[in-house]
């Protein structure tokens, strides 16, 4: 248990409760402790309405938050294979009421689907390009040169990428056709989560991908967003429960601007660098990420209410890369 957990959890930790002996504590505490035990097996996650706002888009960022694509599972030669299907296409993104944007993306959404597998499995991605320009899928992680996603796949054709799910951690995929800045900036990116062999503690798991939009091809970003749509989570705060362990998968895919931070209000988070550790490296309320950097951040909210998160490059935050958690009282 990290110091952070202790700091934020108003209850004593389960083990401590056992150590002190339940008998010596009041009935109320015992009840709460039981709830604490219960929460170990299942995270408390507010119900997300199926009709969450799309704001004129083909997808809802509210659904993106906890939408993990585990693929179709097959067993081949005693090994688990996960098959994913991704199609590159073009869709118009409604970035706000005034600005629309011709996006290139995977599966009609920005970011593309959050692909998820477990260390040691085999990932097989069938990729089809129907987006006009040549595109690819380039995955971060270990793989042979032939699977590096560098060879352009032209419009109307496809390929299959096959890679070992290794190493465990938080990774990404994106198009690697030049100019990569434009291909990523148009929306061709997504997250790849490889879970460790031993699962992480139960948590409310949330995906946040930062992106930048050069809306007028002037080599500068005019708008930014978490999960595709600028300011979406300011207008529609993310509901989470007080005291519930939250695990954020945060990825920075903002091109052009060299680096941004991620800052969480009124809290501190445990940092698991690149998601490649099982123990946090340190605790902070701000972390810097260059383009393509990503981390797992864990925290609990001590107080209910609304709390913002955003890069502390405030100009970038104020151009769409801003959101809020609405922490619901645990009681």
């Amino acid at each position: 248990m990290s110091n952070l957990d202790r700091l934020h959890h108003p209850l004593l930790h389960r083990r401590q409760l056992l150590k002190y002996g339940l008998a010596g504590l009041g009935l109320t505490t015992a009840t709460l402790a039981w709830q604490g035990l219960k929460s170990q097996s299942k995270a408390r996650i507010p119900v997300v309405p199926a009709n969450s706002p799309m704001m004129g888009n083909t997808f809802s960022p509210m659904q993106t938050l906890r939408d993990f694509d585990y693929g179709t599972v097959k067993q081949e030669n005693g090994r688990t294979v996960r098959e994913f299907q991704l199609v590159a296409g073009n869709t118009t993104l409604q970035l706000n009421t005034a600005v629309s944007f011709n996006s290139w993306n995977y599966n009609n959404r920005v970011p593309g689907p959050t692909l998820r597998a477990k260390a040691g499995e085999l990932i097989r991605v069938s990729f089809l390009n129907r987006a006009g320009h040549a595109h690819t899928m380039h995955f971060h992680g270990f793989h042979p040169a032939a699977m590096d996603g560098i060879k352009p796949i032209r419009n109307g054709t496809g390929t299959i990428y096959e890679l070992e799910a290794e190493p465990y951690g938080l990774h990404l995929y994106h198009c690697h056709v030049s100019p990569v800045t434009r291909h990523i900036g148009k929306g061709l990116f997504g997250m790849l989560i490889i879970d460790p062999p031993q699962p992480r503690p139960v948590a409310d798991e949330i995906v946040l991908v930062m992106g930048g939009y050069d809306t007028n091809d002037d080599g500068k970003n005019e708008l930014y967003a978490f999960n595709g749509v600028p300011d979406y989570y300011m207008m529609n705060p993310i509901e989470i429960y007080q005291h519930q362990l939250i695990r954020l998968y945060v990825l920075n895919t903002i091109e052009i601007d060299p680096a941004v931070t991620f800052h969480l209000h009124a809290n501190m988070f445990d940092v698991y660098p690149t998601g490649m550790t099982l123990k946090p490296s340190h605790t902070s309320d701000v972390i810097t990420m260059g383009t393509a950097e990503r981390h797992i951040l864990e925290f609990k909210f001590k107080y209910p209410g609304q709390f913002m998160f955003h890069p502390h490059q405030d100009l970038i935050a104020e151009h769409g890369c801003m959101g809020a958690f609405n922490v619901i009282s645990a009681t």
């Binding site: 939408d67 993990f68 694509d69 585990y70 693929g71 179709t72 599972v73 097959k74 067993q75 081949e76 030669n77 005693g78 688990t80 098959e83 299907q85 991704l86 199609v87 296409g89 073009n90 118009t92 629309s100 944007f101 011709n102 290139w104 599966n107 009609n108 689907p113 085999l122 097989r124 069938s126 089809l128 129907r130 987006a131 006009g132 320009h133 040549a134 042979p144 032939a146 699977m147 560098i150 060879k151 352009p152 796949i153 032209r154 419009n155 109307g156 054709t157 496809g158 390929t159 299959i160 096959e162 070992e164 056709v177 030049s178 100019p179 809306t215 091809d217």
Partner: protein
């Protein structure tokens, strides 16, 4: 692990056909794990990319066009079977024709030797068409680049000079080698460097652009002349170009306005070259396939009005669905010529 690219997965086969229904579906994202108790057989391996078309013996139920599927329809005597097969795409196995209730087991037993879901390695005509589409896309890019350079807009021309190297050359490099075509990546990069540097020495740019276009023509000339003049072959290349132009035109417009000039210009280049290719076979077409010829000429004429100049007009002459409709009409009328030729 053996790292080969498998050509089996159903969705890829969709790439093969112009008449695509399955590929328009939003791919499913499965959040539940469905472990399969049966170990699947290892798919056929190949190092080739999936290309334009499928095997010539068995009918690929994922990729075949309607007229091919009609063979199955005729054999079983099931009305509108071809459309039903298309509607239930994609198929992971041929047996899914039964499990998806397209046909029953007895019917399946009659045609099981005729159908497949696997793509084959590109060979012969398919490979040649794939090769020529790539080179055609390069030419399209350079055509529009030249127009923009002539308008003294090197900055606008640059992406179109970059695209042949960035998007296409590596994809066609193996085939160039196989066909013993002298590499011309160096030429393309030199041109890109010149234009990126501001195209200050225009005579040098002009010479280099000419050289680049000549290199592409030399690469195209590696194909036998009979083939380059064969309408069925050329129409397939034209379809590849039009399909790409269609996607890019759509990506240029939002809210009824041109938002991305680059994609407008890309598609203009592809249409220009597709039109030029058609001129080369127009006389043969008028003689041998007058009906198709008439439709193609008429639709092409209308299509070209969507690209009045290298710089996009203030508002689109045609909406993306209108352009899509014209392109579909052309593609449909080419199918007969292509299918007859492949019999």
């Amino acid at each position: 692990m053996k790292n080969t690219q498998y050509l089996k997965i159903a969705i890829l086969a969709c790439a093969a056909s112009v008449v695509i229904s399955a590929c328009n579906n939003t791919p499913t994202t499965t959040t539940t794990e469905k472990p399969s108790p049966v170990a699947s057989t290892p798919p056929a391996a190949s190092n080739e990319m999936v290309g334009m078309k499928h095997g010539d013996k068995k009918i690929n139920i994922n990729g075949a066009i309607l007229s091919e599927l009609d063979k199955l329809e005729a054999k079983l005597g099931v009305p509108a079977l071809s459309n039903k097969i298309q509607a239930s795409r994609p198929y992971k196995t041929p047996e899914e024709l039964v499990s998806k209730k397209v046909i029953d087991q007895a019917q399946y037993d009659q045609i099981k030797d005729l159908v497949t879901i696997e793509d084959v390695v590109l060979t012969g005509l398919d490979k040649d068409a794939d090769y020529m589409v790539k080179l055609g896309l390069m030419k399209g890019h350079l055509y529009v680049a030249k127009e923009l350079l002539d308008l003294n807009k090197p900055k606008d021309a640059e992406p179109h000079i970059g695209h042949p190297v960035e998007e296409i050359y590596t994809d066609v490099a193996d085939q160039l080698n196989e066909r013993k075509v002298k590499e011309f990546k160096t030429t393309l990069i030199a041109l890109d460097d010149l234009v990126k540097a501001g195209a200050k020495e225009m005579p040098k740019v002009t010479t280099n652009l000419k050289e680049s276009l000549q290199s592409i023509d030399t690469a195209i000339a590696a194909l036998p002349e009979t083939q380059r003049k064969n309408p069925a072959f050329v129409l397939r290349v034209i379809n590849g170009l039009l399909d790409t132009a269609n996607s890019e035109y759509g990506a240029a417009i939002s809210d009824g306005k041109f938002k991305a000039a680059i994609e407008y210009q890309d598609s203009r280049g592809f249409i220009t070259y597709a039109d030029q290719l058609y001129q080369g076979i127009a006389a043969t077409m008028a003689k041998d396939s007058p009906d198709a010829h008439k439709i193609i000429v008429e639709n092409m004429k209308q299509l070209k009005t969507a690209w009045p100049a290298a710089i996009p007009p203030a508002s689109p002459v045609k909406t993306p669905p209108e352009v899509g409709k014209l392109i579909t009409a052309i593609e449909q009328s080419t199918q007969k010529v292509i299918t007859v030729a492949s019999k």
